[in-house]
């Protein structure tokens, strides 16, 4: 049976990852699809998975009492969705909703965490890759906060 390993290997996030690590991760992977409008994660709910988006677009939203759901970022093909599975208490910090039909590979967070505990080299490798993503998103948020296109810029 064909596994998801070639798909994971082809994803930029797993570029140059050792084959043995890739095999371990593949054991935690499954194909998923979300219909347009479907919620993938809800703020405060358990963050059981992260996703490699293969097709489609999802929005990250913050619910504001006065303004409703505010989209703060969109994520699309080739990108990683979710890091909350990695950081206790493993809960989504935002609402995540599919904007269009979205196909992704879901990685089971609990499964991967267990493998990382057993194999710290894998854990360190994943941590390095996720840290990059978290830093990119932090930087992007900071630039957004600057409101650089406002008249004060």
């Amino acid at each position: 049976m064909e596994t998801l390993e070639p798909l994971l290997a082809a994803h930029p996030f797993f570029k140059n990852l050792e084959e043995s690590f890739l095999k371990l991760i593949t054991g935690c992977a499954s194909n998923v699809r979300f219909e347009a409008g479907e919620f993938i994660g809800r703020e405060g709910a358990n963050a059981d998975h992260f996703y490699l988006i293969r097709h489609g677009q999802v929005s990250l939203q913050v619910a504001s009492p006065s303004r409703g759901a505010m989209v703060v970022q969109t994520i699309g093909e080739g990108e990683i969705l979710g890091w909350s599975w990695l950081v206790p208490p493993y809960r989504w910090t935002l609402d995540v909703q599919a904007i269009t039909l979205t196909r992704a590979i879901a990685l089971d967070g609990k499964c991967i965490r267990a493998k990382c505990e057993e194999n710290h080299d894998l854990g360190y490798e994943l941590l390095k890759r996720f840290t990059q993503i978290m830093v990119q998103r932090l930087e992007a948020t900071r630039i957004q906060l600057l409101d650089i296109y406002g008249t004060h810029a």
């Binding site: 699309g76 930087e139 992007a140 630039i143 296109y149």
Partner: protein, 288 residues
């Protein structure tokens, strides 16, 4: 006959360069809540004004003052001078209150523009932030007129909200072309916005271009250009292949007054377009 670019460069070094010529407003188009595009035609025998993509003019609202504004029209069509302006101060506010038939003084074109010819044979990545799309629009016109000369052409445009998107109709037309990649993102979405949300730099890692054979042109607020340069360099685009358009308060526009001095250079005369390699020691320093 209209002066050539070489002749204009000569003129810009003389006293004649300080004389505005009379132009009449032929058309005004509101782009967004705070930006508008004006088309001007020469009057009183003034000749048409040839220009290169990325150059700017000094626009004089009589009795109010002068402002430097980039040219947003097509260099191949110098009969119609086009400027897209954002209301930020007294002069731009007064300019925005003028209507069809009103006259302004225009002198230019000044400065060094985008290296469109140098991009021949390369992929081209254009990154525009906010009103920064206006000075890059002439580049798009030039490249589209000779599309076969370039590799992949990618336009990445970031703006504040969907309501702030400039040249909306044109962007849609460009997006529909098979020989262009156009990505638009906004910092803040609206309930009906189905496109990208996030800063323009987030588009760079996924944009389809070959970083070893790319020429990048960036225009927007300095902080946006700073982060864009980081993202391009992370993808492997060298400093010499990255061009930025700098903005300073230009007064004389011909390098005499020193208002726009930038290290050893004058933005008005040596810029506004610089290669990043040229200015990286100064770029981002707040005291410059």
């Amino acid at each position: 006959m209209a002066p050539t670019l070489d002749e204009q460069m000569h003129i810009s070094g003389s006293a004649e360069a300080m004389l505005p010529r009379a132009y009449a407003i032929r058309r005004v188009k509101r782009e967004t809540a705070d930006t508008f595009t004006m088309e001007f035609e020469p009057v009183d025998g003034a000749s048409e004004l040839t220009f290169a993509a990325g150059q700017f003019n000094m626009l004089y609202v009589f009795g109010v003052g002068e402002v430097p504004i980039s040219i947003s029209g097509n260099p191949a069509n110098p009969q119609t001078l086009v400027h897209t302006t954002r209301v930020v101060g007294t002069v731009t506010k007064a300019l925005g209150e003028l209507k069809r038939g009103d006259r302004v003084g225009i002198r230019g074109a000044y400065g060094r523009g985008w290296p469109v010819a140098a991009a021949t044979g390369n992929d081209v990545v254009i990154v525009a932030g906010g009103i920064g799309l206006a000075p890059l629009r002439p580049v798009m016109y030039e490249m589209l007129a000779a599309r076969e000369k370039f590799g992949k052409v990618v336009l990445l445009y970031g703006t504040r909200t969907p309501a702030d998107i400039l040249f909306r109709k044109e962007l849609e037309e460009w997006r529909a072309r098979f020989d262009l990649e156009v990505f638009i993102t906004v910092d803040r979405g609206s309930p009906d916005w189905r496109g990208n949300v996030g800063v323009v730099t987030t588009l760079i890692p996924k944009a389809p271009f070959d970083p070893t054979n790319t020429l990048a042109m960036i225009c927007g607020p300095e902080v946006m250009m700073r982060f864009t340069i980081n993202a391009l360099q992370k993808r492997g685009v060298p400093a010499e292949a990255i061009y930025v358009s700098m903005e300073r308060n230009m007064k004389c526009a011909i390098g005499f007054c020193g208002h726009c001095q930038y290290g050893g250079a004058f933005i008005c005369k040596d810029g506004p377009v610089f290669s990043y390699a040229q200015i990286q020691e100064l770029f981002g320093k707040s005291e410059i």
